[in-house]
């Protein structure tokens, strides 16, 4: 993914942190700057746009002019019209620089997208997941059993990161002892220079090249071996992918790392936070663990671990009475559509027994709909089943720290104390 080229310090003239969402002139509302996401101030700005200017043009921002689409039904229209709204050249808000661009099927249109995606989607298809469930559960149990009781620790580091990293290592058949590299590369891929992970664009690029070298080694080993059931073997032997240029291989690898890592990680953390902020819902869960599958969908809606996807208009078009020109950037704010009262009743409430909980935008819709959605749901379900067998309360004991990004919506730290049953 190429969302990571925004060069801006945390103190920026573009930041809306501390501004009044009700009185700021509407043309100045700019959801793209990471400041309000990092400071957890984004919700009222999105609510105002949904009400007053649902397809909103921001003429001037650190990333140039762009449209913000904030209503559920408009997002659905954009997401399901790839002939009008292209995923090329990138799905990140920042235009790509050629030197730092990695092609991957998330930023391709049909037919190439469909061909490449078909090669790898089998690994996360439900039939294959059934075989993975026991392994995932044993790893979840091992992680949870190793946690301290009645003592503060960081849930993000000890549970969310560890679990999703182990899962990724399994899907790639990646050397297990080196798995921390996967987390690092995932963070680097979406990092904003100066945002905490890397200092400069060059530093970021150097890390990505290390990733490239590592995965080239794995490709070379597997291309001549009997095809295994892992993602690298699938790419190395797949009809549509085995001759792909090295950069495209790397782009798809990074896509699969980020797709399978940040998102589930932040939904694991987000669920703990949501239940702490809504104690009545935590009680519902304690009384009926049969609610877990439904709660998982609600957590994914509530968290919306990727705040947006970007499209680029291929032709002049009209969206909800706004004239969009060919070439315009169009950003679908899933994080806003998931709070749209016109589509979701009580959208601002976290309700683990919500009817139609699966009808949320977090996975996107249409041809680019999240490929790993069933894997994500399964991981979250198992995590909560095993948490409830062990702990009466995963108590959040301090302010969470949030990712400095308007794309990856998540947590860098969540201090908790575990209370046993």
């Amino acid at each position: 993914m190429s969302n990571a080229t925004l060069q801006s310090p945390k103190q920026s003239k573009w930041s809306m942190v501390g501004k009044d969402p009700q009185t700021i002139p509407i043309e100045q509302i700019d959801l793209s700057h990471p400041g309000i996401w990092h400071a957890n101030e984004f919700l009222p700005f999105m609510a105002r746009l949904r009400k007053e200017d649902p397809v909103h043009y921001c003429a001037d921002s650190a990333v140039g002019p762009y449209w913000s689409v904030t209503k559920y039904k408009d997002i659905m229209e954009v997401d399901t019209s790839p002939h009008i709204y292209s995923s090329e050249p990138t799905i990140g808000i920042v235009d790509t620089f050629e030197k730092f661009t990695l092609p991957a099927f998330i930023s391709m249109d049909p037919p190439k997208h469909d061909e490449q995606r078909r090669v790898v989607q089998g690994v996360v298809a439900p039939a294959n997941l059934k075989n993975l469930e026991a392994l995932i559960r044993s790893r979840v149990c091992e992680i949870l059993d190793g946690l301290p009781l009645n003592e503060e620790f960081d849930w993000v580091e000890r549970v969310s990161i560890e679990l999703t990293t182990q899962m990724l290592a399994t899907l790639f058949d990646f050397p297990f002892e080196d798995r921390a590299k996967l987390t690092f590369w995932s963070d680097v891929a979406t990092a904003i220079p100066g945002g905490g992970i890397v200092a400069t664009q060059e530093e970021r690029w150097q890390a990505i090249q290390e990733c490239m070298a590592y995965f080239t080694k794995l490709w070379n080993a597997r291309v001549n071996a009997t095809p295994g059931n892992d993602l690298i073997s699938m790419l190395a032997h797949g009809e549509a992918t085995r001759n792909m240029p090295p950069m495209e291989y790397l782009g798809n690898v990074i896509l699969l790392i980020v797709g399978g890592n940040d998102t589930t990680r932040n939904s694991i953390s987000g669920g703990v936070l949501a239940l702490n902020e809504n104690p009545a819902e935590y009680d519902k869960l304690r009384n009926d663990q049969g609610l877990i599958p439904n709660m998982v969908s609600e957590i994914i809606r509530w968290q919306t671990p990727l705040a947006y996807m970007r499209r680029t208009a291929k032709v002049d078009t009209v969206l909800n009475n706004k004239q969009i020109r060919a070439g315009d950037k169009v950003v679908m704010w899933y994080a806003s559509g998931n709070r749209d009262e016109d589509a979701i009743a009580n959208a601002d409430k976290f309700l683990i027994d919500r009817p139609n909980a699966r009808q949320h935008l977090s996975f996107g819709f249409g041809l680019h709909r999240c490929m790993g959605n069933r894997l994500a749901e399964m991981q979250l379900r198992i995590v909560w089943e095993e948490i409830m067998k062990r702990f009466s309360f995963v108590e959040v004991v301090g302010e969470p720290e949030r990712v400095y990004s308007s794309f990856v919506k998540g947590y860098t730290k969540l201090p908790v104390v575990l209370h046993p049953l």
Partner: protein
């Protein structure tokens, strides 16, 4: 009223009777037939209302549209008789329709 028989992957049968007008997906969801998720709510954009249509009914259905074809092409379980049930309107001529739900929706 139009009768539709949903057969689960396990073989369990769920007969429903609905008025014409909605979609086969809605007939399933409104009658709590398991095995149809319909995450997108009927916009032909998630492929989680996938069904296998009993052969004798295939030529009575409206033709496969390009969007439906594209969404189905991403399903590893697709067969010749695969359709998205949100794209099959319930009409009187489909009285007696038989569809099987796949083991998994993806």
């Amino acid at each position: 009223m139009v009768k539709i028989l949903f057969i689960e992957h396990s073989g369990e049968e769920h007969p429903v009777e609905v008025v014409s007008g909605g979609s086969v997906m809605e007939a399933a969801v409104n009658n709590a037939v398991p095995g149809i998720d319909a995450d997108c709510g009927g916009f032909c954009s998630c492929a989680t209302c996938h069904v296998f249509v009993n052969e004798q009914w295939l030529d009575k259905l409206p033709p496969l549209g390009p969007n439906e074809d594209a969404m189905l092409s991403l399903s590893p379980d697709r067969r010749e008789n695969s359709r998205l049930s949100c794209q099959i309107p319930v009409v009187d001529t489909l009285d007696g329709l038989v569809v099987t739900t796949p083991e998994f929706q993806f």
